[in-house]
Every structure is written in structure tokens, then in C-alpha cells.
């Protein structure tokens, strides 16, 4: 019984995930080598690697890879650094800490489409937006964020969403710190910078790994923020891989080329997964 039971319990999860992975992958493989336009469903034929050639030689491809990585890297850097800073700030008790915690976590619960429209209109509109008002107040010329800084705008929205998540994980981690050790280090004359370097940051390393990992999983495929605000533009300035494939499939109706692109996304995901597994393997032995 001890052998069969665990397998029996594991089977539903493994089987469904296996199908969820394999069926789309095989279909994608098949679509990627045929001519498959959603507008001309009857014209189907083997085209070999033409779809791949088209996708890779599309100038948008390189831009999209760059944007994907830039978006991923920036958001992770911003949320980890600011997250640690805010966590250290609210780690000690102060008046209204509970309320501050609730205010801080709120953006995490906001759906990406609302997040995007809120920033696009009320915050970043170059005439009526709050940021434009702030710029005017300081005598600066308001910026047309989505046109002039499209990728930065997306990074801002996504960071706003994920900063609360990082902060609260770090706060939870800090609460388990050894108080006596901190006290002892202070007695020995360690100043805050040294405490940060030798006590706080090492203690946080595992939770940094967790934050990076989860954000990697969710941020490789940022979509709604781009879809609802810039539409990938202007040009390809804010198009990531996810959005490029979407454009091929549902805006250009070319499912063949989109499938070829999807296979690239799979490769990219696997590279990230290898990186992730090494990271987790080191920091979070299950």
C-alpha cells in the first residue's frame, strides 16, 4: 500500500499537467510547419521552416526579446531593492503599522487591466493626468509617458503591482530574525550599515530567491498591461515576446507564424527554468 498510494494521489496532478503541456506543444509543433491562416482555413499545406524564418527575420523579434528581458530585469530589480528598503522601514513597530501594511499590499490585489487603465488615464495622461499636474507644479513640461517612454510606463505599472508582494514577503522574513543577535551586534558597536551587510541581507537571501522565482514565472508573460495601454507600440517599443505572438495570431491571423514564435517562447521559458532550478536548488532544498 505504501508504494501504490502516493502514486495514486500524485496521478491526477501529474496527468493533467502532462496533458496541459504536451497537447498544446504537439499542436504548436504541427501548426508551426504548416500554412495556417485563420482567415483562410482551407489553404493548408506543409511549408517547412518558412514560419520560423518569417518570425525570426521579423525585425520585431529582436526588439521583443530585448523588451522581454528588460521588463523582467527592471521589475525584479525595482521590487527587490525597494521591497527590502520598505520592509526594513516598517519592520519596527510604529503608530498605525497595521493600516500602513494594508495600504501597502492593496495594489497586489488589483487586476492588471484595471491597473493598466488607471495608470494610462488618470496617472499618465499628458494633459489631465496626476503626473502631468505634478510636473506642472514643479514648473516642468509634462511628459507623454505612453508615447515617449512606453516600456518605462509598463515597467512602472508592473512594478507597482509586484512591489507589495515583495515587501510583504521580506517583512515576514524579517520578523523571524534573531533579536538577541541584533542586540549583541549593537553592543559590539556595529553600526546600521554593518548590521545590514552582515545580518539583515544574509537573512533575507532565501526570500529574495523566492521573490525572484515567482516574479520570473509571472513576468515572462506580461500581457494585459501592454494589451490595454500601448498595444505594443509605438512601433514595437513596448512589445514583448508574449505580445508579439499574440499580434501574429489574433491581429495578423497567422497562426502558423504565431506557433513558430510560441516555440521560441518555450525555449526562452526553458532557459529561464534552468536558471530558476539552479537558483531554487541552492536556496530552497525541498
Amino acid at each position: 500500500m505504501n508504494r501504490i498510494l502516493p502514486r495514486l494521489l500524485l496521478t491526477p496532478a501529474v496527468a493533467t499537467l502532462f496533458l496541459w503541456m504536451l497537447v498544446p506543444l504537439l499542436m504548436t509543433l504541427y501548426f508551426s510547419v504548416i500554412r495556417f491562416n485563420l482567415l483562410q482555413p482551407d489553404q493548408i499545406g506543409f511549408v517547412g521552416l518558412a514560419n520560423f524564418e518569417y518570425f525570426v527575420t521579423d525585425p520585431s523579434f529582436v526588439t521583443a526579446i530585448g523588451n522581454t528581458l528588460l521588463l523582467l530585469g527592471s521589475v525584479i530589480a525595482i521590487t527587490v531593492v525597494l521591497g527590502i528598503a520598505i520592509a526594513l522601514l516598517i519592520n519596527e513597530p510604529f503608530a498605525g503599522r497595521g493600516l500602513v501594511r494594508i495600504l501597502l499590499i492593496s495594489p497586489f490585489f488589483v487586476m492588471p487591466t484595471v491597473n493598466a487603465l488607471l495608470w494610462k488615464n488618470m496617472m499618465m495622461n499628458p494633459i489631465y493626468g496626476v503626473l502631468a499636474q505634478v510636473w506642472l507644479f514643479f514648473g516642468a513640461t509634462p511628459v507623454d509617458w505612453l508615447t515617449d517612454w512606453p516600456l518605462l510606463s509598463i515597467i512602472t505599472m508592473v512594478s507597482w503591482q509586484w512591489l507589495p508582494f515583495a515587501t510583504l514577503i521580506f517583512v515576514t522574513a524579517l520578523q523571524s530574525m534573531d533579536r538577541e543577535q541584533l542586540e549583541a551586534s549593537r553592543m559590539d558597536g556595529a553600526h546600521y550599515g554593518q548590521q545590514l551587510r552582515y545580518l539583515y541581507l544574509p537573512h533575507l537571501s532565501r526570500s529574495v530567491a523566492v521573490v525572484v522565482m515567482i516574479e520570473l514565472i509571472f513576468l515572462l508573460s506580461v500581457f494585459a498591461e501592454i494589451f490595454t495601454t500601448t498595444g505594443g507600440g509605438p512601433g514595437d517599443a513596448s512589445t514583448n515576446i508574449a505580445f508579439l505572438i499574440f499580434k501574429q495570431a489574433l491581429l495578423n491571423f497567422d497562426a502558423g507564424v504565431a506557433s513558430a514564435g510560441a516555440l521560441f517562447a518555450v525555449v526562452l521559458a526553458n532557459i529561464a527554468a534552468v536558471f530558476l532550478i539552479r537558483l531554487v536548488g541552492k536556496n530552497l532544498d525541498p
Binding site: 494521489l9 500524485l10 503541456m21 499590499i105 489574433l250 526553458n270 530558476l276
Partner: protein, 278 residues
């Protein structure tokens, strides 16, 4: 009272309180602004300079309901997120239990493989899933979203539950087994009470993720099976500046989950640390 270190400590405490509140208010500001704008008239919403004091109106909420069937989308959101969460828990819990308490040679590999399926961007599966949904007449239905939400949340759920279960000492379960408890009793009397926190936070996260999911709902559903995320996206079309109505619709879409999140945030975050906090 004139002890300089005491004064310095007091000053630091004031400074900490001040900065913490400033940071919190700054990060919350966009949401607070959304809340205010939802109760303004369209003219007040785009007033320059912005209006802080005004007579609140409920006009926008009526108009949102009239223009698009809010309740239909809300019902779809509730059904898809609740059902997919329950279904996911039903599949994920036994798997996590098996991995945590009957650890084998390949347990770690299986776990990593599951996570790697989550790394694959949803868009990679867009065309096949779209074609499958179309062929089985599931486009624009709740069922399509329930299936996809369950599958795409499953790896995270298994992982989260696993990291909770593995902190429960095996001896407790063995002791129960020694006392003649069957599998069901072992689960109900021993495991369930101990794992309740972990189960709750996993379910909470799953609810939040499904409620806010936008990629699949935008691509697979429209006017019949659409969730609140799709309703909001329909406001992105450039048909003029209707910020007050947009804000009202947004507020109605996020309020349920944000308020729910406020009450459950402690529990949620505890489970989200994925065993990173000892």
C-alpha cells in the same frame, strides 16, 4: 528628559513613522484617486487642477450597470474563480501530500517539472488552446475559463501546499497511524487541523490569481462568459475621456477582491513565503 540618546531615539521613531506613512500613502495614491474619481462627474474627473472636495455622485455606477451588464460579468468572475480554486485544491492537495510524506527519488524532479510548465508563457499555448476551445464549442463559456484557470494555477498550488506540508513532522502522522487511525481519519483528525493555514493561504492566492486573470479571459471569452477583467478591458477603447465611468467600473471590478484581500492578507502572505522563512 535631556538624555541625548533618548531624544535621538524619539526623533528616529518620529522620522520612521513619518516616512513609512508617506511611502504607504504614495503607493496607495493611484487606488485612492480611482476611488475619488468614481464618485465625481465626468467634468470634475478631468478638472485642472484636480478637485479634492466635491459633492459625491452615484451616477457613474448606475450608468456602468446600464451600459454593460455588470452583474453578469461579476457572476462569471465569482463562478470561474471559486470553482477553479476548489477544483485545483482537490487535485493539488493529494499530490502535495504524497510528495511531502512519501518522498521518493524523483519527488524534487517532479516538483521542478511542474513549476517549469508554469514558466511557459500562456501565449505559447494560445493558438492550440483557442483551436481546441473552438472545436469543442467552449469559446466564450465559463467552463473554458474554469479548465484553463485550474490547470495554469495547479503548479503553484502544488508547490505552495508541498512547502507547507513538509514542515509538518512525520512523527505526528505515524503516531496517529500507530493508534490505528485509517487514512481518512489521519487526514481529518491530524493533517487537516495542522495544514489548515496552508490550505487557506493556497486557496486565497488561487482566488486572487483567477479573479485577476486577464490573458485567457481576454482571448477566450467575450460578452457571455467574460469576467470582470474583460469588462474593464472594453473600456480601453479610445472613445473619449470617460474617466468617472471607467473609475466606477474599475472600482466595482476590484472592490470584492481587494476587500477580501485586506482581511486575508496576513494568512496569504504567510503561505506565500514558500518555506523561505524558518
Amino acid at each position: 528628559m535631556h538624555d541625548p540618546t533618548l531624544i535621538r531615539q524619539n526623533l528616529m521613531q518620529w522620522l520612521r513613522t513619518l516616512v513609512a506613512w508617506l511611502v504607504a500613502l504614495l503607493l496607495f495614491f493611484p487606488l485612492g484617486w480611482l476611488l475619488l474619481t468614481a464618485f465625481k462627474t465626468e467634468l470634475q474627473a478631468i478638472a485642472v487642477p484636480p478637485e479634492w472636495l466635491f459633492a459625491p455622485t452615484l451616477e457613474n455606477f448606475h450608468e456602468v450597470q446600464e451600459r454593460s451588464d455588470y452583474l453578469l460579468y461579476a457572476k462569471n468572475s465569482v463562478i470561474t474563480s471559486v470553482v477553479s480554486t476548489l477544483l485545483g485544491m482537490l487535485i493539488a492537495t493529494p499530490a502535495a501530500y504524497a510528495m511531502a510524506f512519501f518522498k521518493g527519488k524523483h519527488t524534487k524532479d517532479i516538483l521542478m517539472w511542474m513549476l517549469s510548465t508554469k514558466m511557459m508563457p500562456a501565449v505559447g499555448a494560445l493558438v492550440p488552446v483557442y483551436v481546441l476551445a473552438q472545436k469543442s464549442h467552449l469559446l466564450d463559456t465559463q467552463l473554458a475559463l474554469i479548465i484553463v484557470f485550474t490547470l495554469s494555477n495547479l503548479p503553484i498550488m502544488v508547490w505552495m501546499l508541498f512547502s507547507q506540508f513538509k514542515d509538518i513532522p512525520h512523527e505526528i502522522l505515524e503516531a496517529a497511524r500507530m493508534d490505528g487511525a485509517g487514512l481518512w481519519q489521519e487526514w481529518r483528525m491530524v493533517l487537516l487541523p495542522l495544514a489548515m493555514g496552508g490550505l487557506a493561504s493556497t486557496g486565497l492566492l488561487c482566488l486572487v490569481l483567477s479573479w485577476n486573470e486577464a490573458f485567457w479571459s481576454l482571448n477566450l471569452t467575450a460578452a457571455k462568459g467574460g469576467t470582470l477583467a474583460t469588462l474593464i478591458a472594453s473600456y480601453s477603447s479610445p472613445e473619449g475621456l470617460f474617466w468617472a465611468k471607467l473609475s466606477a467600473a474599475s472600482l466595482m471590478a476590484i472592490a470584492p477582491i481587494v476587500v477580501f484581500g485586506w482581511f486575508s492578507q496576513k494568512q496569504l502572505v504567510q503561505g506565500l513565503t514558500f518555506g523561505a522563512v524558518k
